[in-house]
C-alpha cells in the first residue's frame, strides 16, 4: 500500500479540471437579485417606521416606572419624617 500519491499521480488526477467548462449562473439571476434587494429595502423601511413607536414606548415605560418610584419614595419619606417627630417628642417626654 502506498503512503501518498506521487506528484505525477496527483497531476494526473487534477488534469480533470482542464476539461471543466465554466458553469453559467442560474436563469433569472438578476430578477431574483432585484426581488431580494427590494425585500431587504422594504424590511429596512419597516424597521425605520417602527423606530419612533419603539422609542415612544420605551420613554413612556421609563416615565411610568419613574413616577411610581418617586411616589413610593415620597410616601416612605413622609412616614419617616412623622416617625422622627414622634421619636423626638418621646425623648423630651412631650405628647404631640
Amino acid at each position: 500500500m502506498m503512503k501518498t500519491l506521487s506528484d505525477e499521480q496527483l497531476e494526473n488526477e487534477l488534469s480533470i479540471f482542464s476539461t471543466m467548462k465554466e458553469t453559467a449562473s442560474p436563469d433569472f439571476f438578476y430578477t431574483r437579485l432585484q426581488a431580494r434587494m427590494g425585500k431587504k429595502a422594504s424590511l429596512a423601511n419597516a424597521a425605520f417606521s417602527f423606530k419612533p413607536v419603539l422609542v415612544i414606548c420605551i420613554l413612556t415605560l421609563f416615565l411610568i416606572i419613574n413616577t411610581l418610584l418617586i411616589g413610593k419614595n415620597t410616601n416612605v419619606a413622609k412616614a419617616n419624617s412623622n416617625n422622627n417627630i414622634e421619636v423626638l417628642a418621646a425623648s423630651y417626654d412631650q405628647n404631640i
Binding site: S6, Q9, L10, I16, F17, T19, K21, T23, P26
Partner: protein, 187 residues
C-alpha cells in the same frame, strides 16, 4: 461603457449601471463561489449577497485594484463566511444534535459540471470532497488557481496575501490532497 464610467454611475446608484455590472460579472462570481462552496443553492445565495454588498459599498471603493478583483474579493469573503457558518452549525450539531437539523454534507449532485464526462464524474466528486476537507485558506487558494485557472498574482490580489504566501498555501494543499486521495488510488 468602460470601467471608470461604470464605477462613477454605480456610485450614483444608477439601476441601469447595476444591471450592466451584474450581467457582466454574474457568471464569473457564481462559478467562483460554486467552486468554493460546491453547492448550487449556497452559491446562488452567496453570489446574490456579493452583488448586494457591491451595491451598498461601491461608495467606499477606492479603485486601488480593478473592479473585478474587488468584486472577487467580496465574493471570496462571503464564501468564507458561509463556510465558517457551516462549520459552526456542524459543531453545534455534534454537541447538541436536537438543537438544529443536520445538514447534507455530500457534494451537491447539481454541482457536477456538464463539461465532465460520465466516467470522470465519480473521480471529480472524490477530488472535490478532498478539496472541501482542506483548511479554508488552502481551499480558496487551490480552487482559484488550480480549479479556475487564475494566475498567482490575481489570487494574491483577491486573497490579499503575498505571492509567496499563496505558493505556500498551494504547496500545503497539494501535500494534503496527496494524502487524502491515496485511498482512492489504493482501492
Amino acid at each position: 461603457m468602460n470601467e471608470k464610467e461604470l464605477i462613477s454611475r454605480l456610485k450614483l446608484a444608477e439601476e441601469a449601471a447595476f444591471k450592466v455590472l451584474v450581467e457582466n460579472y454574474q457568471d464569473r462570481v457564481y462559478y467562483s463561489v460554486l467552486n468554493i462552496l460546491q453547492n448550487a443553492n449556497e452559491a446562488e445565495d452567496t453570489a446574490q449577497e456579493t452583488f448586494i454588498q457591491v451595491f451598498e459599498s461601491i461608495g467606499s471603493f477606492k479603485e486601488a485594484s480593478s473592479l473585478a478583483t474587488w468584486i472577487y474579493r467580496i465574493a471570496v469573503r462571503k464564501a468564507l463566511e458561509k463556510l465558517r457558518k457551516q462549520k459552526n452549525r456542524q459543531r453545534i450539531n455534534s454537541i447538541i444534535p436536537w438543537w438544529m437539523p443536520s445538514e447534507e454534507q455530500s457534494i451537491d449532485a447539481a454541482y457536477l459540471n456538464p463539461g465532465i464526462s460520465n466516467e470522470n464524474k465519480e473521480k471529480t466528486t472524490l477530488i472535490f470532497k478532498a478539496i472541501s476537507e482542506l483548511p479554508n485558506n488552502q481551499r480558496i487558494a487551490f480552487t482559484l488557481i488550480r480549479v479556475q485557472g487564475m494566475k498567482h498574482d490575481e489570487a494574491s490580489a483577491i486573497m490579499q496575501l503575498s505571492i509567496k504566501a499563496i505558493e505556500s498555501l498551494l504547496s500545503r494543499a497539494r501535500e494534503n490532497l496527496k494524502n487524502k486521495l491515496k485511498n482512492y488510488y489504493n482501492s
